[in-house]
Symmetry: C3
Subunit: 172 residues, 3 copies
């Protein structure tokens, strides 16, 4: 296969939520069979983000607080967008600041991440059905994990496994 | 073809301007003939952005106001960069915040965007010739739309068209 | 070759430092032999950035000052993350704002950058060994430059070299 596209759907419990999705991305890498390539992980919503950072809950709280106090306060009445009937203009600006996608290299069949890097989905406008009870709604968040393979499928040859300090070229 | 590169040139009427370029990108996808792949849309200027968000004019006004009041006020005298004779330091910081490129997946020959996602060019330092009249100048803004195809060109087989909840692999 | 991956290690002298890495990236493009393709340049740390902008030292000083005064003040005590014993929460937020990776198109064997665009590594939490003397430590900063080639290796045909206003398709 040359390419592998998977749509991941999930729910959130809070309107602002950060979810570690590294394992779901890694699972798609395994299913695709890609050895050397790139994994594009992209949110399909304009009020959400995909980013790479740290699996530490204190930092997640810092991010949410920073988005509210420094980057884009929710304060619905300050935004022209909210005259359309929406109240989520701040969520759009948060998505613009952090970004909506990342591209993770795949090396030797695995996500090539640094020692502390994890992949996250950041929802800045979840729970759009606004149900008062905190129960999972129908899946409403969607992202695309599009993997691309960078060697031809017909001829499989083992790649050289150099150490981290060397270049590696996949042979064909 | 494996790759398709197109340079898109255009003008802006304002120094700060947000332009929906989704149709120009989609046109390049069609011209390239790519069925499964990736579209890199990248600004070639360091005072501009490419981003994915909402086609809503109230939000565009919010973005411009937010860039000025929260992210990087234009206030030329506060920046060391402007000692070079430029006055656009704030435009560089706006480009850094929102980013200068996006990578859009191509699935079944179309940009694979979520229901409200559109692709935009954000000019933060246009009209550099500083003509007082609001007339189009010579094309001054350039971005590269580099499309990559992820299956071999020699053998064309119809892809499976699964529903949104399934993975899709392009067969070769 | 279809893909080429290189791990670049380097040191910084300051805790906050901006380094022009365009030549190192260009060198990897040459070594890879890729004519048409994409260069992913990605930091492997969650407190660093990779970005495209201007080679102008006044702007670099502006960026560092802006990160401190506007985006994420270092002020260690304001962040929950720092209760873990770290003091670098602000560096995480700076990485989120500017981003940790860029994807540069490769056209006719060269990085396809605009007239003023350069590629930078931004370290927001360097010198982690906290040696008082400003001497290079063991290499501690790592990024991955993952290049992908977008035409098959077996058949090399010269690409058409159109002018900037035309599309170019690499022929196979």
């Amino acid at each position: 296969m040359k390419s592998h596209t998977h749509y991941l759907w999930f729910t959130t419990k809070q309107r602002q939520e950060i979810i570690d999705i590294t394992e779901q991305v890694a699972e798609q890498v395994r299913e695709s069979g890609v050895a050397e390539g790139l994994a594009l992980v992209s949110a399909m919503h304009i009020t959400a983000s995909v980013f790479v950072n740290d699996h530490e809950s204190g930092l997640w709280a810092d991010i949410l607080k920073w988005l509210e106090t420094t980057i884009a306060p929710w304060d619905a009445k300050r935004y022209g967008h909210n005259e359309t009937g929406e109240d989520n203009a701040a969520a759009h600006l948060r998505s613009l600041t952090i970004g909506h996608e990342v591209l993770v290299p795949i090396t030797a069949g695995k996500l090539d991440l640094g020692p502390w890097q994890r992949v996250f989905y950041g929802e800045w406008d979840g729970q759009r059905k606004k149900q008062p009870a905190m129960v999972p709604t129908d899946p409403e968040h969607r992202l695309i994990i599009a993997l691309s393979r960078l060697e031809p499928p017909a001829i499989e040859r083992p790649g050289r496994h150099g150490n981290a300090l060397a270049s590696r070229d996949s042979e064909v």
